[in-house]
């Protein structure tokens, strides 16, 4: 794990916003701009997708990202790659140390498998994304564009014998991750509403986003 703090000051950001648990954020990060997500109260998961703003069928690819860096965890220095194996963004600061991109996002449908068929109506990240693309047709995103995401601040260790475990978060109040865009990208975040697992301590809380030129 590599802990790298940022020199950027929130008071100098061109935009800041709090995103409550169960809400989404969608916006554009232009090439060269830097975007920060702050885990305000700790142990929160920010389920995040990126798209090439000019051609959204090019999008963040968890597989291309981890394969090219040869490691399954994301942290400072990680290049976030697309399904065409191009670099979309680079993580430039990280005070948490490790982020998951294997665990995917919760969905009402996967909730039925993971927890109980009768939990199908509990709010989930993929429903937030569906609302985001429905309310923002200007981005040209459709259900087919919704793929495998990053879970910022989430801790999903892979074991050498091939296990996948969900551990208590290693994040804490005020930890943040920051990335600089290499090309113009759409960022789509679901601030995870999940109430059934320890990824957010069974208590979803707000995150803050900030954007600098």
């Amino acid at each position: 794990m590599s802990i790298i703090a940022s020199d950027l000051l929130v008071e100098n950001a061109r935009h800041t916003q709090n995103v409550k648990a169960g809400d989404y954020y969608i916006g554009v990060i232009k090439a060269g701009q830097t975007f920060r997500i702050v885990d305000l109260e700790g142990n929160q998961a920010a389920d995040t997708l990126f798209f090439n703003a000019k051609e959204p069928s090019e999008r963040y690819s968890a597989m291309d990202t981890i394969r090219e860096q040869g490691n399954v965890y994301l942290t400072s220095g990680s290049e976030l790659r697309s399904n065409l194996n191009n670099v979309l963004l680079q993580i430039v600061a990280d005070t948490c140390g490790r982020h998951d991109t294997l665990g995917g996002a919760c969905a009402t449908e996967s909730n039925t498998v993971r927890y109980d068929l009768e939990k199908r109506c509990m709010h989930a990240c993929r429903d937030s994304w569906m609302l985001a693309i429905a309310e923002h047709p200007e981005y040209g995103l459709h259900k087919r564009d919704i793929s495998h995401n990053i879970n910022f601040f989430m801790n999903v260790p892979v074991t050498p014998d091939g296990g996948l475990t969900f551990e208590d978060g290693i994040s804490a109040p005020g930890k943040y991750v920051e990335f600089t865009a290499v090309m113009d990208v759409i960022v789509l975040i679901s601030n995870c509403p999940q109430l059934n697992n320890p990824c957010n301590g069974y208590n979803p809380t707000p995150v803050q986003i900030a954007l600098w030129d």
Partner: protein, 250 residues
């Protein structure tokens, strides 16, 4: 369908018959619709094959194989016998009813032209069907036949490729295994299968790894109450329950 002339399937109680057998050469691609209750058995005849595979619901092509959902609900980083392969809608496309290989990758994605270029440029004019195809383009070709494209790609399975991690999360492609390992899928709903036999993207072989795979198709026995995939975990029981709801009234 005619009875299989091969007896080997009798070793597996879940296979009723194997009715068709073919060999897909390396650097190739294929797609087919598998019906609920059919089986597909893949054999790595050389011990070095890689088979990229994706699943879609032919009734709703927006429903597709979801590797993260499959891994997290079974608490696994690898795929092997007893595992189910889930869609993003909480349903099971297929279950792995047999596996003598033991570890299949589903997180490394596809080889791109940029990976294959280390062995040379794809050139049909010069190489004919011995060309240097890559997995990404192979998938795009098959997907286009169903009106699908780049936006419909998802994390694929790489059968017969074992990618492990160490404590720090560093990934390593394990060496080839012995020849003739097999993996058998039983389809739990109608499924569009897209596949290629292009190299795994982490393959560093000196020469382009051109390895064929044997594919056998047949019918499954009716699933029993003590089926190993059904009873592997409560999550799979609930996944099969979702399939039963999907097939209600059929």
């Amino acid at each position: 369908m005619p009875n299989s002339t091969e007896a080997s399937h009798r070793n597996h109680p879940s296979i009723r018959s194997l009715d068709y057998s073919t060999e897909i050469p390396g650097a190739s691609h294929w797609s087919l619709r598998m019906r609920k209750g059919t089986v597909m058995r893949l054999t790595d005849t050389t011990g070095s094959a890689n088979v990229g595979m994706l699943f879609y619901n032919p009734e709703n092509l927006l429903e597709r194989y979801n590797a993260p959902d499959s891994l997290k609900c079974q608490h696994s980083f690898k795929l092997t016998q007893g595992h189910c392969l889930y869609s993003d809608m909480g349903r099971i496309f297929a279950s792995i009813i047999g596996d003598t290989h033991g570890w299949h990758d589903t997180v490394c994605g596809n080889s791109h032209a940029s990976h294959v270029n280390r062995w040379g440029i794809r050139d049909y004019q010069g190489d004919r069907n011995e060309w240097l195809q890559n997995g990404h383009d192979a998938f795009l070709i098959e997907l286009a036949k169903y009106g699908l494209g780049q936006a419909d790609l998802a994390a694929n399975i790489n059968w017969f490729s074992q990618v492990q991690t160490d404590e720090a999360g560093t990934m390593l492609l394990a060496p080839s295994k012995e020849a003739e390992t097999q993996v058998t899928l039983r389809f739990e709903m109608d499924t569009l299968v897209i596949l290629h036999t292009c190299p795994h993207p982490m393959n560093q072989a000196e020469n382009y790894p051109r390895h064929s795979v044997k594919i056998e198709l047949g019918e499954a026995e009716t699933m029993s109450d003590d089926d190993a995939c059904l009873t592997a975990c409560d999550e799979n029981r609930r996944g099969f329950h979702n399939n039963a709801l999907y097939h209600l009234g059929r």
